[in-house]
Symmetry: C2
């Protein structure tokens, strides 16, 4: 791997584990066994590294969504979508743990973030409309915007919420992500039509089982 890429990978790892605020450029260099000077050859400063990480995040996002374009049923579609979102948030969780602060001191990043957010909101909104048309959900026009917003808040801050709840510092694992997805089920549940109720609850049970599996696996290790 090129040094530049190594720096990005190590930074993500260290930021996630110990918090972006607690990790300096020197830490990153030391962790990789390279000199600070070398790090500064590849990046102008720490903000530059964060911006590069965000580029990687954005690329990931686009690539993952491409693989999702196959026409499957709308319920699976939104679930897979949410799954991807949770996984990406987990992979870059230092970023989301710190979202308002990180964005406020980096206007360029905030602009990029806003643009991607707009697309995601658009996508979620259109997925909900598809579910409406397929008569899986029954959402009134004036409810659509609020529901989209609540879905965004829940996905964006789910891990942050978990981190504030758990007593000792938590390990973010697959079970945490499935638990987040189950909150999405809870949000959508009141809007599910009678006709789709069975499928919906089956899907929910599947994710409950996945969460349980992840939990027991975790204990086994």
């Amino acid at each position: 791997m090129k040094t530049r890429d190594k720096i990005i990978v190590a930074s993500i790892e260290l930021f996630n584990e110990q918090g972006e605020r607690n990790i300096t450029t020197n830490h990153i260099a030391a962790h990789l066994g390279i000199s600070p000077g070398n790090l500064y050859y590849h990046f102008r400063n720490k903000e530059d590294i964060i911006n590069a990480i965000y580029s990687e995040y954005a690329d990931d996002l686009i690539n993952q969504f491409k693989g999702l374009s196959d026409a499957i049923n709308p319920l699976d579609s939104i679930l897979l979508y949410m799954d991807i979102v949770f996984q990406l948030i987990s992979k870059f969780r230092f970023f989301y743990s710190n979202l308002p602060v990180l964005l406020s001191k980096n206007p360029a990043l905030k602009k990029r973030y806003s643009e991607i957010q707009k697309e995601i909101i658009q996508k979620v909104s259109s997925m909900l409309q598809s579910l409406n048309e397929a008569e899986i959900l029954s959402i009134k026009d004036d409810e659509l915007e609020d529901l989209t917003c609540l879905l965004r808040i829940t996905t964006t801050f789910w891990l942050s919420y978990l981190q504030t709840q758990i007593e000792d510092n938590p390990k973010i694992d697959d079970a945490s992500l499935y638990e987040g997805l189950l909150k999405i089920f809870a949000l959508l549940s009141p809007y599910v039509t009678d006709g789709a109720r069975q499928d919906f609850e089956n899907a929910r049970d599947q994710y409950k089982a996945l969460k349980q599996d992840a939990l027991t696996q975790q204990i086994a290790i």
Copy 2:
């Protein structure tokens, strides 16, 4: 006002405006026209100031909730409760903009935060049950926990969400808080019984009007 209190007030103000991370003890002292030495006479360090601010927050919370104990109807009760919560979050928003980071590097604070959280969750949960018993909402037993959790996430991170959405750096004002409260309405809406629907929508319209007032007032200024 005593110097100690002045330091707390100024710190809250500066932290909210410019972010806790960007404000040093020297900034606080300079802002008050006192010496750094004087500040350090009153507080051992910056973390000590933050802990003192949190004590003020906790006191505020308890006092506000005391004034709420009068038996009013359960719907007004939860709305007033949420109103208080939003206002407190707004008053200490630097804290919530930074929640996971601030808590992870201050275990004592995290412990205090967790304890208060437990009480709030308990309180919200019992309020929802009252609404159930009064047949204003119809929440099944297995839905209660998820709904409580979604309410917590939405209130806790509403302002953080707003800050990430608005293009240029946002002014958090009354309209923002009412908008947050309307998200609470959106969360509860699917669970409202037919019998209580009219009251619920009337209350919602009231808050919509309040938000509009706040918006126009803001433009007038």
